[in-house]
Symmetry: C3
Subunit: 371 residues, 3 copies
Amino acid sequence: MNPTSTSMAFLPKVIYRNPLLWLLALVPAVLVGQMLIPEEHTLLFVLSVFAILPLATLLSHATESVAAKTGDTVGGLLNATLGNLTELIIALAALQAGQYVLVKASIAGSIVTNALFMLGASFLLGGIKHHVQEYNRVSARFQAGLLFLATIALLIPSAVAERNSAANASFTQMLSVSIAVLLIITYALGMVFSLKTHRELFTSVHSPETDEAPWPAGVALAVLAGVTMLIALVSEVFVESVQHATLALGMTPAFVGFIVVALVGGAAEMVSAFSGARKNRLDLSVGIALGSATQIALFVAPVLVLLSYVIGPTPMDLQFWPGAVVMMLIATLTGALVTNSGRSAWFVGVLILMVYLIFALTLYLLPSQGL
Amino acid sequence: MNPTSTSMAFLPKVIYRNPLLWLLALVPAVLVGQMLIPEEHTLLFVLSVFAILPLATLLSHATESVAAKTGDTVGGLLNATLGNLTELIIALAALQAGQYVLVKASIAGSIVTNALFMLGASFLLGGIKHHVQEYNRVSARFQAGLLFLATIALLIPSAVAERNSAANASFTQMLSVSIAVLLIITYALGMVFSLKTHRELFTSVHSPETDEAPWPAGVALAVLAGVTMLIALVSEVFVESVQHATLALGMTPAFVGFIVVALVGGAAEMVSAFSGARKNRLDLSVGIALGSATQIALFVAPVLVLLSYVIGPTPMDLQFWPGAVVMMLIATLTGALVTNSGRSAWFVGVLILMVYLIFALTLYLLPSQGL
Amino acid sequence: MNPTSTSMAFLPKVIYRNPLLWLLALVPAVLVGQMLIPEEHTLLFVLSVFAILPLATLLSHATESVAAKTGDTVGGLLNATLGNLTELIIALAALQAGQYVLVKASIAGSIVTNALFMLGASFLLGGIKHHVQEYNRVSARFQAGLLFLATIALLIPSAVAERNSAANASFTQMLSVSIAVLLIITYALGMVFSLKTHRELFTSVHSPETDEAPWPAGVALAVLAGVTMLIALVSEVFVESVQHATLALGMTPAFVGFIVVALVGGAAEMVSAFSGARKNRLDLSVGIALGSATQIALFVAPVLVLLSYVIGPTPMDLQFWPGAVVMMLIATLTGALVTNSGRSAWFVGVLILMVYLIFALTLYLLPSQGL
């Protein structure tokens, strides 16, 4: 039962059954296109977006197989970590180019997109199929509390230093680095908590009920690793093309970082979350959405601040544009309030998506000097 | 069993039993006074306020009769819609006169008055009679979540555009119109949700226990329609007189719009909510208070923005005074936090009313150039 | 069974068993030192801090004895009142010296320290010993709601008057006094509620399970009174020395007021709250933390505003530094969100403490002109 040989016989069947996976053909197209026609930015941008989608689907199937053996929320955490790897890789490329507005917009956008779009679309997609969905509200409240605290910690420099803008750049910088270190320590302690001391808190009460047999653990882990690497390669093409392409398509940098990068970067997690919602496993969806947003705040953002000292042209701080601060706070409070009752129906999803749509619209209409 | 002939025999008895309804005599007095002594603004202002009260009481009785047949929360929604009609009519008159400060103050004030004063007074009045009151906390949390999201959507232009004030008037205007359209779509979907697909979520667990037999459905509906029209007529007199009268009484425009218009406009709903609280049907009270505030945000406010293009001298946007933004956010967060436990006692009502009183005091003391 | 003679035989044994109480020897040392070497500020500062700790421990034992007879939350309220007496005395000394920045920082800091540090450390200390701790979430939500409303009421002048700073000093002053009166009325009504009409809401479901027999009521009450007086005397020395000492130790006034005064002033309550958490009586800890923060907002702050007219050089208003407003709001929202589920584990404590640590770090790094 060699996992690799099993996957040789296994993956083609899976791909054959799911038409979305035919888009996998775009992955080599993107990588070859990047070498042959690197100046065709708009084409490469569109190709890379559609190449990430089937990879995200595969990642989702693999993660669900692991989740079926470890419980929904550990699977959710695993998924969020790997999904956020995409966001981290995209942000690293922008960091290296010194595009700090884009980096910060993608951090803020990932938190907002996870907590609003992913949660809202899960509620809507699940609610269309199931009349009222119940989920483990104690676990959801716990995760919403963690997300609130993580976001607050991330936003202190923006909240406090706002008044002392010009003169106190060194204060903001020192505070940002200190907070980045504290956030990473917190993240490490959180891993100890969720994977070691209180693992049982993160298992779901629902039984899996998957419509297909889960993959063997070896196959699932191999696919997880391989697909993650392919996403990283395609993401690089995406980042190189996204800036020129969006200018051609008439979008602002705020909109690109906040909405486009966040949506593409989070595609893998979204496929899992939406699939969980359709299967009435809303615990999985809520765990992915809130857990992923929490990990952006506790892990991706501070790592980017610290790495800016190594790979960036100048150090990056944690001071966000006031509108982004408001949107992040609203997103985390929304996550806390809507998961409070442990019940969902389609209209809750509509309302959350409407708030997200209004955010997107605001950033789309915003004059570019507004950032 | 002709409903009209039944109401002929029915209403006089109801009026005779309730001394408040004797004030109905003021309704013709106001309408005649408006024609004979239109310049006596302070007198007409006071008369119209006291003429709206008995109409509100009748509306409340009629709505409770309908509510008894359809469940508390559908009755609550019905009540909120008709009660908000008063607020809409008052705001329309101010809109036509180009008094946008008054219109916006009445929108903000209606949300705050519903979520704080109506909820707080219901808790206090119910708590004086009943030691601890329990209500359906899942339904309350659900409604508080809707109110939070509706208010957030309404406040995006104020939160985001604050920094870009002078230069970006056209951005704020375009954003306000787009959001108005999205809010009305959301409102329509919300009606489908609460009246069609998930009607059962909005029925109360408590049995009615009314102290008098409910009116026949035909009578109730006829009274609902007739009394609503009378309120509209008296409201017009109220609006014409309110501006001159309050100057004579030493109030600021902020106070008039935020407190006086909101209290008079919401009188009908308050009578129902308070009566429900006294009868230990706090589900009805919470449903009216939160539902009414939600409908101001999702329906009344966007309709006024869109109508400003038709009947106003210039288009109106959704940018509110920062103090009003803070008060609306506090009111909706308060609504979410205090209904969280599903239990109430008199002191909760005292605390909520105290916050409302402090808001009112602030607006009363505020220098008028502060708006 | 004269209580005093009993305490003669009783206290020495208690002191002998608890090494921390040996620090009681510092109490006469501080009082004598203040007379003999009043210019040794740094020494007196350090001595007074370590002299307050054993007094706080004794107060905690006495309060727990009373709590054992009256239920956790009434004991918690009692504890909070006496603990806040320390904060009140410290603030009164600063008020008399016209040090309003220090007074306001200590008000804000006490609310934040109670709602974040005390709650977070209780969750962490309790969570290290007990895997998952459950507590009465209805009571916790109720208290978190009260704290939210009390804080909001306190912060209205800061939220609304921000924009009208220079010209409207008289508006802010009048509003502050009016709100102070309303807050004290609310506090009195709250006492009626928690001690008279709804006393049963504030008793815990857990049985005491103390590891030692509770003291007789007479001894407990006598120790409560005597130790409170000693804390008051030592606190005076603390206040006189704190300003010079912290300059010598390189701290800013913001940090001293917000963190040092608040931690020392709340030491007594913390010992009780932490001891309750270790004994798996988290109801007691949450009651002390949230109740104490509420009483700072509803009682200590308004009393200081009113007394500033009698003993201060000029009247004090309730306008806080914007960073302090943000921290108070975050602290009360955190209190509400984390107590929502009625369950706790060690990592929740870590996260809350991390937010507190980030606040402290921000104030420590903040350039002193930033206040």
